[in-house]
């Protein structure tokens, strides 16, 4: 049985970066404690005998569901509708943060 991990604030910082969530130093400490506690509860699952038990990712039994490849105008946005909720737009485009560094 694998022991329950103790999460450090350095790990929280790494997770925060992956999840793109801004966290303060104080929050990192608190989150590290909260995650350690929650994972200790979750680790009770290791008591259960799951040898030869398959995973279940969905419960309906449906497989390979597709729909007709047809245009349904009721489900389409106009450019105006698509942009209506954006806080930053320019010439009919969404403005996104720069991810490629300039020279």
């Amino acid at each position: 049985m694998t022991g329950s991990p103790k999460i450090t604030s350095a790990q929280v910082a790494h997770i925060a970066k992956l999840a793109h969530i801004p966290v303060t130093e104080e929050e990192k400490e608190k989150l590290a404690t909260a995650f350690t506690e929650t994972l200790a509860v979750v680790d009770q699952l290791q008591e259960v005998d799951t040898a030869d038990v398959p995973t279940t990712h969905q419960v309906t039994g449906l497989e390979n569901v597709t729909r007709e490849d047809a245009v349904d105008e009721r489900l389409m946005f106009t450019q105006e509708e698509a942009l209506a909720n954006a806080t930053r737009k320019h010439n009919g485009y969404f403005v996104v943060p720069q991810v490629i560094e300039k020279d």
Partner: protein, 461 residues
């Protein structure tokens, strides 16, 4: 009698017979909301065009009746926040399948109700727009996450409402507020246009004054939707045909009273079993797979699915940026990111999905012997306001008895089965059936409701 206290069925009958007008119905509701919503905080947004929209629908099945809709259902032109300031200014350009179907059938989306932010919680205390109070006793929480929908119904600030359940979010607030809550089979009702939480268990459903009202609404919500690949082609019956049936020969398994922390509830539920037996059913205690493991399964699966579902909120196409997430959403997104990350997915996510299979097998075994299974809806009465502070797994523990059936995908209904005279707080009876057998939970729930006086709207008749 004020028209806001009517059940959905009574409102439909009254409009049909022209006993009152839509104007009168909406006026009484607006008055009640105006008087009480500032305290209860059930509604976040009211649709100012409601009466106008209602008047062109009087010839349709739902005749222009007003519904309260949980604010995680996208409603075209009507602000949808999921109770998070990330979506503070979000006006959807489309409607969820559920609200579109209800609107097409003649209902009006009269108001949007409060929830735990992103439906993360079981108290409605994590809403970034303030907590909702339990109208049965304002010192107490309504439960959640569909707390606003349950409170609107319980306080007669709505005729009926729509909520959504991922693991208890319909049945637990329904129980705490003394209302009916129906959680359909996963895949019975479309998730399209519902702000996604845990996609493998999210199930929209009605929260109502009576089982009959829930059956009427489910008729207009259920069915296959090409926009949600997990919806089933299984035929949708007219659910109202399962009302007013006896329970002759029905075999009921009674779950969870062998758990020591629930022993104190036996005295409240024993009389409910006697009522079911008097209606022709047989009831016996059964041993089920320990529900405590479902807390862990749900915690892992839900956090994982949340971390990917909430990745879309970047503040670019709509809403505000990710600094606006509240503490609970941050915790859940980040824990899910961790448990799905390389090296940990087997230890957490895949292990949880194996234990989920064990719950499915356990229910299959029980349904081989019993037609329906019943349990308490919650380990006790509603908790006092402030109870969630410092309780990182508050919801998981309050939903202990509902999580196993949620991760399995089963249909269930919660009906009031006890009222404490001192506190005016309620307990709920949770009735579960095999996949796609909403007919059974409606039949049993309706028969039980009509044989008892716990439902406070029965005195309307």
């Amino acid at each position: 009698m004020s028209l806001n206290t009517l059940t959905l069925k009574q409102a439909l009958d009254g409009l049909e017979k022209k006993s009152f007008s839509l104007d009168e119905l909406y006026n009484d509701l607006e008055t009640a909301i105006g008087d009480e919503n500032k305290d209860i905080n059930a509604y976040l947004t009211i649709n100012e065009e409601s009466v106008t929209e209602a008047k062109v629908k009087s010839n349709k099945a739902l005749k222009g009746v007003p519904l309260a809709i949980k604010d995680n259902f996208c409603t075209e032109g009507l602000r949808t926040t999921a109770s998070s300031t990330v979506l503070d200014n979000f006006i959807p350009a489309f409607s969820s399948t559920v609200t579109r179907k209800l609107t097409d059938a003649g209902a009006v989306m009269h108001g949007k109700t409060n929830l735990d932010a992103w439906a993360h919680g079981s108290s409605t205390e994590t809403s970034q727009y303030g907590r909702t109070l339990n109208p049965r006793n304002l010192d107490y929480l309504p439960g959640g996450s569909s707390g606003g929908s349950a409170a609107a119904v319980a306080g007669d600030l709505a005729i009926a409402s729509i909520g959504s359940e991922t693991a208890g979010s319909i049945r637990q607030p329904a129980a705490w507020c003394g209302t009916v809550g129906l959680k359909p089979t996963y895949g019975r009702v479309s998730r399209y246009g519902v702000v996604a939480m845990a996609s493998s268990t999210d199930s929209p459903g009605p929260i109502t004054k009576t089982v009959e009202d829930a059956a009427i609404l489910l008729n207009h919500m259920a069915g296959h939707d090409p926009q949600d690949g997990t919806t089933s082609l299984t035929e949708v019956p007219d659910y109202t045909q399962f009302l007013n049936q006896d329970l002759k020969g029905l075999k009921i398994g009674v779950m969870y009273f062998d758990i020591s922390e629930l022993a104190h509830l036996k005295e409240y539920y024993q009389p409910a079993l006697k009522v079911l037996e008097s209606l022709g059913a047989s009831a016996e205690y059964v041993q089920a797979f320990d529900p405590h493991y479902a807390i862990s399964v749900y915690t892992v699966v839900q956090r994982g699915e949340v971390s990917s579902n909430l990745a879309r909120y970047t503040g670019i196409r709509y809403g505000q940026d990710r600094s606006h997430f509240g503490d609970e959403a941050k915790r859940r997104i980040m824990l899910g990111t961790f448990t799905l990350s390389k090296g940990y997915a087997d230890q957490y996510y895949n292990l949880a999905q194996r234990v989920r299979t064990l719950y499915i097998q356990d229910y299959q075994k029980l349904f081989g012997k019993y037609d329906v299974l019943v349990s308490p809806s919650s380990p006790g009465f509603a908790k006092k306001i402030g109870a969630t502070e410092g309780a990182a797994m508050f919801g998981e523990l309050e939903d202990l008895l509902l999580e196993p059936s949620s991760i399995v995908g089963l249909p269930a209904i919660g009906v009031p089965c006890y009222r404490d005279e001192k506190t005016n707080l309620f307990l709920g009876l949770n009735i579960m059936a095999p996949m796609w057998r909403e007919d059974l939970v409606i039949k049993v729930g309706d028969a039980y409701e009509k044989a008892t006086s716990w439902n406070t709207w029965r005195s309307n008749e």
